[in-house]
Symmetry: D2
Subunit: 416 residues, 4 copies
């Protein structure tokens, strides 16, 4: 067995079953592994990954292992580590995991240093921390990396712009089968799920105000309406606001919407979206949740500083009675309600993201030497392949263009 | 303090906060209490209730107390008792509760005998057990009762038919503001909620088969579609099947639907709806849930007897590998998934039911002496009042017919 | 050829094709005819019908003819007669039709007298006029009748109550496969259709106010939402108002709704639903339509009397500039917009109604002698049969209860 | 009065009212005109436009006139000219129109030559014909142009690529407030409208197969579902297919979908989407419609050549009985059903497009001299302005970013 640092290897049995459950919801990854299993294209490669240690990640690193890689796994957040999953990976899959749920920041960074020191050819990152470490330590073996998140990609682009990026990195986040699906369908559902678990309110009896009509906001709006709520959208972009309107939603500024809200959900990626001004307009008993970004969309600081009393009523449900006498309910302390109060993205959504991750690793190896340092998007044909395999796993075939049709499209699109 | 039998009075603080949370979602009950608080019309009356000891019931019995009644509370199911709620009622509201979570059947029946022996004028029942005890023991003080459930009402009607019912009982279940709302909106939402908590699957990636298009089935179908699923309805009644079709759903027999199902949800009120025949047709990995009735809709017995292995994967999620090699997932052991894996009806739904309960008690007292033994439905004006107060609590006013309009409607409806 | 009174027999060819088109959308009627064609159970019977002379009615009377009956047809409204259909029935189907589009009232009543004088055994009515004539003229041959409409049934019930009804009449209107389908799905769609044909507005850019949440109102609300509108419901019944709310709609009184309306559609069955009070609150350019009843729901009289100018802009679209300077648009002069500006119920809806009509005629004959004078609803088994045959025509099979299931349902529903 | 070539100036009165009706649905254009009316920025400019001569175009050219321009109008299609609109423009607005409904190709091209010869500074085009003429005739005055359609833009890009384009052209089609709205909301609605006018079928009783899940296909799918249909999507692109699936639709190849279709609607922009192979699989009585492109999506030629009989049943509804005996119904001869059988885009949709047209003209003038020959998209700020004014016309305000928020967004988006 390899070296590792985990909570308790005795937790492995529970982890195994949960990893299998996630596997049963991740058919794309499984079908891709089947396809490459014989040729084992990752043989001889070491991969260091910095990813949330969850059942879905477990399936990704097991997949990398099956295709021949040696894998080292560190967590991308000290709070997301599932100790039973870490134990199962070590005990049954011979994967070196360095992760403890709730470890402190020092211990967390130590993990990154450990996996960086394994001299990997490929690194996989979620947020950019491992990429930073690998650059700082000047690890010589790295031929490429992958990045899962928007935030990480922004950091990479800034590095690339300043000429600091030393190898090619695939921005998995920018694949259509990632960003078109995880926010709309994943966040859309899991936000409703988080609100239900935290409150058990009747959604059809509620008016929802959703701040932001980007991919996340659209997903949440679609699902809140699907559960029977009246839905009001607030926006700062008039084009998105108009789309929301033509999609049948009410649209108004937050200061008007706040008066009508039973539940406000923020999904803007900005700060101070719901503030003192709006708290004063809200109905007594209104519920506040954030599904967009860090805990800055709702002005939680103001709430805490101006509260007469704060009581935890249920898990992830705080009652805040302001000095004005108004009662507001805050979910998950203003953090991401779909992660804190529910379970984040369902495995089916991670299946698409992580299949892109796997293809990104293979692409980096296939194109070893020919890719200059920089941030890349996966070629559209690989993106399409993920979608195609997902459809296949659902038993769905689609049409194919005939030669005659291809010729026709080419000719008129070229305007000849 | 009155006599009581509860788990631990030290749990009261937690119960208080949760009762207050439910109260904040039960505006109709609160507004009705406000209205009658001054006249205290229940002064001098004893009420024995056999109801699930939950935060919503707590608010009902507190309401009865506020209007002057002496209240004794026994549980209607040994598993539904929330010990912190029982403690809070005893400690802070001077209500005699006889309920322990998980008590045995003997202890459960003892509770019924205790509250029956309190010589109540009114009994409130959920399923008919207390009514039976009161008749057996021939309690002489009872002037009337209320019944919450379909099953209880059926038992009462059978008693009335045989001339055995000795006092008037209000079938609260038959009020429109009960049956039009709790199944469609309550069960509809909580079934989706239960499935999500048990599995965290992506609903939009799934095809749902819903057996039964009664009120429950309609609610579940509406919400499953609202979360993005393709929805197939199975029915035995051609008129309901045709409604499902015109509502835009696919309709087919279970033996065809089973082949396409990712998730089957039964909501028929019948037995053996999903059986060996269908198990053999299901896709590997299909999920089975029941939202209709007892645990007989899915043939769980067959599954258990023909399993090669059964593993608990997560709370309320069992993996059953049949001897044939097929893997199926069973939720909540085939019991009601919305109760077992989620929290049953939201407080907003119970608010309507329990407001009917309160009005039923007041109606029995107002009409004391003039109602013969039998099963009664609340007069439609009281039903409408519940709806009206609910609308008021939402800040919604509606139109009123003018005298001219009333005259017009009367004249043409009478065909003159 | 029989005697007849029609516009022009030369129009028959066009009528034939349109009757065939309707026939292709009326599979239930066709399948029922196939079933009875051999036994010809109507042989020897004369039937006088007072029905709108449309392509759907043509198929009904052709069906009656095929099963052996002699049929006489008068129109139930002088404006709904389609002269090409009348011609086709006379020329190709040997059916005696007495109907001219736009004939005057005297001529209209003469038609009723003619078909009454044919000494029918069965009469079929739409509104009650023929029934009245048959009673006045004391036609001795009649053994029973059928009635299509709510209004007609109300008149019949009044007659029965006063002991004036001399034979049994089947209230086809009260069959579930009639009233559950025609208003929700028929009126729902055709109202949207009528508004589009009259205005060509973009519905997703509009806020609809729908007065009334009965079957019609629900259908219109469902479809308006389906086309992207924001939908507000007004109601006088709090229970229906609450259903509308839990179905996700906004609910408010007309005086508030009027301020937000781009389009108002009335569907109440009452008068003066939109009046002077509301006209003054409406936005400049608001559109008014009625889908409920006669032209009294919107106070058209007030509009005409207080107009500065009235211009016809398009078919069924009038611009009314009030003396106050406000511009309002009135559709179809306040008459039923789905009939006037679109084509009323699609053939698929009439197929269900007219299949009930056919079964009603057969039922009257089967039960000849055993039915006392009075108003009857078709037995539920016939209602179910219509639904079953409709499903069959769609290629849809449904489940059947096993004996074990039947026994189970019986036992618990009886509370034993 | 200027020179003109129209059918009959006596038709002007009817045209005036219809132009006013369209104006009442085009608030954005009106508000923009109000804004610029005083400064009259088009004074001294001549504009030659080649656009469909409809009520919406009338409002655009009137707007140009009001801002000071001299306008010459030729039609972009000989069949779309509305003679009453042409008359009204000439008689009441002093605009030179050269358009006759149904004129022949020679006459059509003559119109283009006439308006080109007016020596305009700006040309406005719909499909590229006028641009071609202006280049051929080498009109020296032109400083820029605008183009409304996808096809026209493709032609322009081909010209630009070959270095043949001699002035800057604004691709109005590529503004978000054009392409995000007209296909989804405009075509979505008008396709349903066209099918209803041609057939009057009950949509909720039908299964729709929609070929293509681009903007048009999405709009049609959304609206068909909203009217109650079961909807099946066919696609050639796996990513779009997967989006359709996660949006809750059934997805399958056309050869499977054809078996289940009651109605097929093509919206692909390709040819031979529904062909002999599929005709043989269709149910008897299936309906075929095209909403995508020219009349090549359905293989109409095959149908005509293999028909036993072809009958016109209603306007835009042909019954084709194939030699095989199968009956199919073809709408609008396979041409665009929303244009042929309904009225194309509602005025509200054209309001957005034509407001972009107006801003494009102003932009060309403002940037006179600084834009090189080439194809341009309107700056996003103008796009947003159109959306903003549309929201304003609806009485909708939206939020604005504070300075603090702008700073925050900038900082994290830049990854610092």
């Amino acid at each position: 067995m390899n070296d590792y640092k985990i909570r308790d290897i005795g937790l492995a049995e529970g982890g195994v079953k949960r990893i299998e459950w996630a596997s049963s919801r991740m058919p794309v990854l499984n079908l891709l592994v089947d396809e490459f299993q014989e040729s084992k294209p990752l043989t001889g490669y070491s991969i260091s990954a910095c990813l949330h240690v969850t059942t879905e990640t477990a399936n990704l690193v097991i997949a990398l292992k099956r295709l021949g890689a040696k894998v080292y796994l560190a967590p991308s957040n000290p709070l997301s580590t599932q100790d039973d999953v870490a134990a199962a990976l070590v005990k049954y899959h011979d994967i070196s995991v360095f992760a403890l749920h709730g470890e402190d920041l020092e211990s967390y960074y130590e993990n990154l240093y450990i996996v960086a020191d394994k001299m990997p050819q490929i690194i996989m990152d979620d947020g950019g921390d491992l990429t930073k470490v690998v650059h700082e330590k000047n690890i010589p073996t790295v031929i490429g990396g992958t990045e899962e998140t928007t935030t990480g990609v922004l950091r990479l682009r800034a590095m690339a712009k300043d000429g600091l990026l030393r190898f090619p990195v695939i921005a998995v986040n920018d694949s259509q089968t990632k960003y078109l699906f995880d926010n709309r369908y994943g966040t859309g559902q899991s936000t409703i799920d988080g609100i239900l678990r935290a409150t058990n309110i009747l959604i059809s009896s509620s008016t929802f105000v959703i701040a932001g009509y980007g991919w996340c906001g659209r997903g949440i709006a679609m699902r809140a309406r699907g559960m029977g709520a009246r839905v009001i959208i607030t926006e700062v972009d008039p084009i998105k606001a108009l789309e929301a309107y033509e999609d049948g939603f009410l649209v108004m500024p937050m200061r008007e919407a706040a008066r009508m809200a039973d539940v406000i959900v923020t999904a803007t990626g900005c700060k101070k979206v719901v503030t003192e001004e709006h708290f004063s307009l809200l109905k007594d008993g209104a519920i506040l949740a954030n599904a967009g970004h860090f805990d800055v969309e709702i002005d939680v600081k103001y709430l805490r500083e101006n509260a007469k009393s704060i009581d935890k009523i249920r898990d992830n449900l705080e009652r805040i009675i302001l000095k004005s006498g108004k009662t507001l309910y805050l979910l998950a302390e203003g953090r991401l309600v779909n992660l804190a109060a529910a379970e984040g993205h369902p495995a089916e959504v991670m299946d698409l993201s992580f299949s892109n991750q796997l293809l990104a690793v293979l692409y980096l190896i296939d194109n070893r030497g020919s890719l200059k340092p920089g941030v890349y998007v996966l070629p559209e044909e690989l993106d399409r392949r993920v979608a195609f395999v997902k459809l296949k796993s659902l038993g769905i075939m689609i049409d194919e263009l005939s030669e005659e049709q291809k010729a026709y499209l080419t000719s008129w699109r070229e305007g000849t």
